[in-house]
């Protein structure tokens, strides 16, 4: 038969067969995705093809410094902070002194101009010792500092950045009793009165509220616009009408305060608006995207720290004449968890490097946050089992990691939200 005819016939047929039913060899292009890795090679970006665990000299030095700091200045207080649900003053001070609260900020604002990846490394190392302390570092760097540098006016930056890099904690007030995942249905209202606003409302689950000096309050200036009315206000702690309530009695990350914050006729000048009126929802989403990578780093460090303290025990503990580690059943479990940890690490590092390079990273950030939270849950649960009875007691640090990991699947976007986000991107790609 004439091959030209054959091809025409085949192409006529192709048009009527849905792609998923067409035989593989007939339509090789039907399953091409618009994913970025199918684009031509990245050597033109100027990036070396090095393993993900390659750090610059500064990043390596920073990692070493934070490891030392965590072991010497944080570790002795971990149990006490967890029992009393109170963050140790000297640790927060130490974080500020070491420059760990202003990692990415420019030198003109008191920062050091280090890379975004440095934040991830610092958070990971701190989380190995205490995830609550890691959270303080993470929120300040990825939320507070980023909000100011991305959306602040020159005046706001000059006023607040030197403070937040020296001794002032920032606190992000978005969630309310009635709006968690559905953040944009928030009810806190900001009424315009001339050149100032009156804010009324009640925020809940606000991290660091107990000790924060400056609050980012997300309030709606015009509910008739729905979420397009949400505006971000920068409110100082001692503003009249702003009340920080009693902190929650939590299962985990107890050293880091989580409080309700009420705003009772809080009067703020128009100049306290961060960015533009009605753009608050965009800022919230934008910040939470990089925040996700930070939380992934926290969960990663948590899981790794727990794992690091369990395996040596399994090698020491002897039952039936050999160490617990030497039983093949145990080895297989431990190897599985180690593999998942490595995968979680690479997801997190890659998302961080993508964000650092200014490339789209929302899907990867969601994947990293979702996966590391799951891995942390698995790792800590298994570690308690491997430790046996002692894993179940408060004398050993393992049970604390188990309690701490749960929040990873909940805050900064629940696991379900992450999966929906990933699915949204997948839908666009195919």
């Amino acid at each position: 038969m004439d091959t030209g005819m054959e091809i025409t016939m085949a192409s006529k047929l192709r048009r009527h067969i849905p792609a998923h039913l067409a035989p593989w060899r007939v339509s090789p292009c039907a399953f091409r995705s618009s994913k970025s890795e199918l684009k031509p090679n990245v050597a033109s970006d100027g990036l070396a093809c090095a393993p993900l665990q390659t750090f610059t000299e500064e990043e390596a030095m920073l990692k070493d410094m934070v490891t030392k700091f965590a072991q010497e200045r944080v570790a002795p207080f971990v149990q006490k902070m967890d029992e009393n649900a109170k963050m140790e003053e000297s640790i927060v001070q130490g974080l500020f002194e070491q420059g760990l609260m202003s990692i990415e900020l420019g030198e003109e604002y008191g920062g050091t101009g280090a890379s975004f990846f440095s934040i991830i490394l610092a958070v990971e190392e701190l989380a190995k010792v205490d995830p609550a302390v890691a959270l303080v570092c993470e929120l300040q760097n990825t939320l507070t500092n980023k909000l100011f540098t991305t959306y602040g006016t020159e005046e706001q930056k000059r006023t607040y950045l030197p403070r937040v890099s020296k001794d002032t904690l920032g606190s992000f007030c978005l969630s309310e009793a009635g709006s968690g995942s559905d953040a944009f249905s928030l009810k806190t209202r900001a009424e315009k009165k001339g050149d100032y606003y009156i804010i009324n409302g009640s925020k809940m689950w606000i991290s660091l509220a107990e000790d924060a000096g400056v609050f980012f309050v997300m309030a709606n200036t015009d509910p008739s616009l729905g979420y397009r009315g949400i505006t971000c206000f920068v409110v100082d702690r001692n503003t009249e009408g702003l009340q920080v309530g009693k902190k929650e009695d939590k299962l985990g990350i107890r050293a880091c305060s989580t409080c309700p914050v009420t705003l009772d006729n809080v009067k703020v000048p128009e100049s306290s608006i961060l960015g533009q009126v009605g753009q608050g929802y965009k800022y919230a989403i934008g910040m939470l995207n990089t925040g996700r990578i930070g939380i992934a780093a926290q969960m990663l460090g948590l899981a790794q720290g727990c794992f690091d303290r369990t395996v040596p025990y399994t090698k020491e503990r002897v039952q039936f004449g050999k160490s617990v580690f030497d039983f093949q059943g145990m080895q297989h479990q431990i190897a599985q968890v180690a593999t998942q940890l490595e995968a979680a690490r690479l997801l997190t590092y890659n998302a961080a490097r993508l964000a650092e390079a200014g490339r789209p990273a929302i899907k990867e950030a969601s994947m990293a946050k979702y996966f590391t939270a799951e891995v942390a849950t698995l790792t800590t649960s298994k570690c308690i089992e491997w430790m046996g009875g002692v894993g179940f007691t408060k004398n050993f640090p393992i049970e604390k990691y188990y309690r701490d990991c749960k929040i990873g699947t909940i805050y900064e976007g629940t696991s379900n939200i992450q999966l929906s986000t990933i699915a949204k991107f997948l839908a666009q790609e195919y």
Partner: protein
């Protein structure tokens, strides 16, 4: 008192927290293993930086003998507060024992003219405890080893040494060589601003041969390296008498 220049020797060693293993070839496994600044060198460096901060010293120079990899150790020294660093570069596998290090440092002393040399008392990989002493002999300078306290005076230095019998205080004329012991000070963490600044500080690399370091043959030959025997189980006893009995029986007392 005129401000003085301090030379600090730093060594790149396997990190103290790493579990050291013997490679199949019969040498200590160093490939892919975490290295860091020798803790005693860190203490020496901290002392030098404190002297500069107090205004007693004008400049702190960190120096090392080794392969290119030592540059990262020198950067850490810069991040901790040294003003500049010098690497006497060796080829991979070239000998770098105490005699070679002392020769390199002596060469640097002639070049840089410091009034004080601060070293760690020993390195945690070979535990030689020889470099400081060899260097002092080569330069014909007084030495204050195992220093647990250092106080500079006009033209001299008061050194408190930890010796077997207790503490010994010496007064030395400058220039002098001191080696730092554990209790001299507690080294600082490099703060992030200093880590970022370290990149801009000068790090000079020169061939070790320029300082007179011989390329070979090594003065120390390693005959054998083996892991310690696996730990045998212990035994719990009920009373002091029974403990003494068991120790006598084992020939220990």
């Amino acid at each position: 008192m005129a401000a003085l220049r301090v030379l600090v020797g730093v060594k790149r060693v396997i990190d103290f927290a790493v579990k050291v293993r013997v490679a199949p070839g019969g040498a200590v496994q160093t490939q892919g293993v975490k290295h860091s600044l020798n803790p005693f060198c860190e203490i020496a460096l901290e002392e030098a930086v404190r002297l500069r901060e107090a205004g007693t010293a004008s400049e702190v120079i960190a120096a090392s003998l080794g392969t290119k990899a030592c540059q990262e150790t020198l950067r850490t020294a810069l991040a901790m507060g040294a003003d500049r660093a010098v690497l006497a570069e060796l080829a991979e596998g070239a000998p770098a024992g105490p005699r070679e290090v002392a020769t390199a440092l002596a060469g640097l002393v002639k070049k840089l003219q410091p009034q004080l040399v601060l070293l760690g008392k020993q390195a945690i990989d070979d535990d030689c405890n020889q470099t400081g002493q060899l260097l002092a002999a080569m330069l014909d300078w007084p030495q204050g080893t195992f220093a647990s306290r250092v106080q500079l005076e006009s033209g001299g230095v008061l050194v408190e040494r930890e010796v077997d019998g207790g503490l010994e205080t010496l007064r030395l004329r400058l220039p002098a060589v001191l080696t730092a012991d554990l209790r001299l000070n507690e080294p600082r963490y490099a703060t992030l601003p200093n880590i970022m600044k370290a990149k801009k500080k000068p790090l000079e690399v020169l061939p070790a041969a320029d300082l007179g370091v011989p390329a070979g043959p090594p003065r120390l030959k390693v005959l054998q390296v083996q892991e310690p025997p696996p730990r045998a189980g212990g035994e719990k006893v009920e009373s002091v008498e029974s403990l003494l009995g068991k120790l006598r029986h084992a020939g220990r007392i």
